[in-house]
Subunit: 348 residues, 2 copies
DNA sequence: CCGCTTTCCTGAACCGGTTCAAGCCCCCCC
DNA sequence: GGGGGGGCTTGAACCGGTTCAGGAAAGCGG
């Protein structure tokens, strides 16, 4: 009897019918106290637990639920996306479930499968692409006719998409620095397998090519996506660079920038006087740092909201609607971490 | 025909049997191409989607899933808890679903219900208590025999519990400051309805009473739980206090402390020279601030891990195990935001 | 003591899928 | 032309609950 007990097992052991056990479970008044107690005891003894799927079978279909798959729990970036989804989905009566893929494609598969198995109404997914994008789970969703929206454009799959133009975002960051007279700019790039990171590197390249400056490969410094990465890379890089020190750094994201700020501080370099720093994402935190950080604003909330809109529209349509692609704009938010070399020259 | 189509509807419209439609859905090889196509077309046209609950009925019970209910998405505190749960639950084959109650008891009900309906194996819940704690949803979980662990002790419900002693935590924060010679200490308290906040206020009181200092009610300054709250309250408070300025502030949590730091910076007050600041939670961020922040370390990961341990042990037990109560310790992590007035005096 | 409620319980039907033994049809081959 | 086999489809049973018509037992009034 390794099997989980069913309502029939309980009924048999309690010497009553399935119907009676069900009545006890649902607190119907039509059960005598004695029977109720007896059944309750058996339920407890057998550690019986009704199977939700069997219950739902009868009473209409599941409630409205949206599943959101993010890449990391510890990046405040996603808090913004979540807020956006919630703002739209909440009032329409959808409950939001969040799961993280921890950046692993395999975990993403598991998580998406689990959500599909839980019968969510639809999904919003930030795909965690490794080298070889395995999108079988997305095809599985299509097969099962579960609508989903991607928050990152990926090859080989047709779907609703909401994203931003990362190339432009990074180009603008570099452009901002060049405008302000910087010419020795390095870019702390994110994880190499990340599509966002690659696109942003491409944007940096573009930023150079649109100016009179020459891009050199060593301007791209590989690092990760977390504070520690920015910190460690920052320490190592600025210790090693000697006199050939860049006047500005653009970072893959704000967390890396925060780490870099710490490294610079510990090395006795001032921001922005010695080094200008630009982040990306524009976390709410940016205004609260000792040196408020210039950052490229990614419209996190808007992305979440747009994705939720599209998803819900799909869910509530009679017939499958056409696929939507939305690209939102990023923009540089200037704060105190970037100095204007040109005006400094002028002053001198 | 408002009803969602079932497999029978599809079968009828396609002129085949239910079994055949099922075979098409599951990519069985035993269907002729012509039939397959016809069925697929009908499926698409009717926007048919199989009901997961019906599918699960046959093929054993649902997968292993743990639901975690947190209070806010935008507090990095929970990232730590989530990491702890994941560290334990992941290797044991559990998928983690997270939902936020947004601090509202009503939303918590909805979210818990939704997770129960989705048939999660068990739940870990950070209860969002309002004034009158409505715990009917927790009784509902008991009735349905869905195990859960609470991350905050609450009245009127027997359950597994993992928490910390907030009174001691706040007492230690105040004690730390008193040891260092501070006597004019105020506490930026969290939201009044929050149990954590109340306990921490109690701890502040305790910290005073264990010293020779007298506690005064006006030492407690009400605020919220977010950066903006600390910022605004900080601006208002330090503008108003004039010459009677406290030498130290303990904060409900680190976010409030970060907000306060910004306010002090903008007011031209130096930390820790003019004002010492102590946070609570000990977010990873604390080491990265311009002035690294002294904070009471709440063992977030350990809490999540302990809760997951207990829950899984319960889930995998044959018989319902006895309830467990675990209380973890908090400890002050001293960084650069608290100065030692005593040694400063000595030096003078 | 009889009829009529009321209380409590049973058992069969049902929800919407999956599974599989059985059967049909067609084709091939001897 | 008959036998055999493979491809395709059917239909009934089943999963584990809920629902509800109906029946047995108990209570009650006259």
């Amino acid at each position: 009897m390794g099997h989980n007990p069913t309502i029939a097992d309980v009924a048999e052991r309690a010497g009553v019918s399935k119907g009676t056990v069900s009545a006890v479970l649902n607190d119907k008044s039509s059960v005598s106290d004695a029977t109720r107690k007896r059944v309750r005891d058996v339920i407890k003894a057998m550690n019986y637990r009704p199977r939700a799927s069997a219950q739902h079978l009868l009473q209409g279909d599941g409630d409205r639920t949206i599943g959101l798959v993010i890449k990391e729990d510890d990046n405040p970036y996603y808090a913004g996306v979540i807020a956006g989804v919630r703002r739209v989905a909440g009032p329409r009566g959808y409950v939001l479930l969040v799961a993280s893929s921890e950046g692993s494609s395999e975990a993403e598969h598991r998580v998406v499968e689990a959500m599909a198995a839980k019968d969510v109404s639809g999904l919003i997914i930030t795909p965690a692409l490794g080298e070889e994008a395995d999108v079988t789970h997305l095809f599985e969703l299509k097969r099962r006719n579960i609508p989903f929206v991607l928050l990152e454009r990926i090859r080989g799959i047709q779907s609703h998409i909401v994203d931003i133009d990362n190339v432009l975002a990074a180009r603008d960051a570099v452009g901002h620095l060049i405008e302000r007279g910087h010419s020795h700019i390095v870019h702390f790039a994110g994880p190499p397998y990340s599509a966002h990171s690659q696109e942003r590197v491409e944007g940096v390249r573009r930023g150079f090519s649109e100016s009179s400056l020459v891009f050199r490969d060593e301007f791209i410094v590989p690092t990760g996506a977390h504070m520690e990465d920015g910190y460690e890379t920052g320490l190592a890089y600025f210790r090693a660079c000697g006199a050939d020190r860049p006047t500005a750094v653009t970072c893959y994201n704000d967390l890396v920038a925060i780490g870099l700020l710490r490294a610079l501080r510990e090395l006795g370099l001032r921001v922005p006087d010695d080094v200008s720093v630009v982040g990306c994402d524009d976390l709410p935190l940016m205004d609260y740092l000792g040196t408020p950080l210039t950052s490229v604003r990614i419209p996190k909330e808007e992305m979440g909201a747009a994705a939720a809109e599209i998803l819900i529209r799909h869910l509530e349509a009679e017939e499958p609607p056409p696929l939507e692609k939305v690209t939102l704009d990023a923009e540089v938010v200037v704060r105190a971490s970037t100095t204007d070399l040109a005006s400094a020259d002028r002053a001198a």
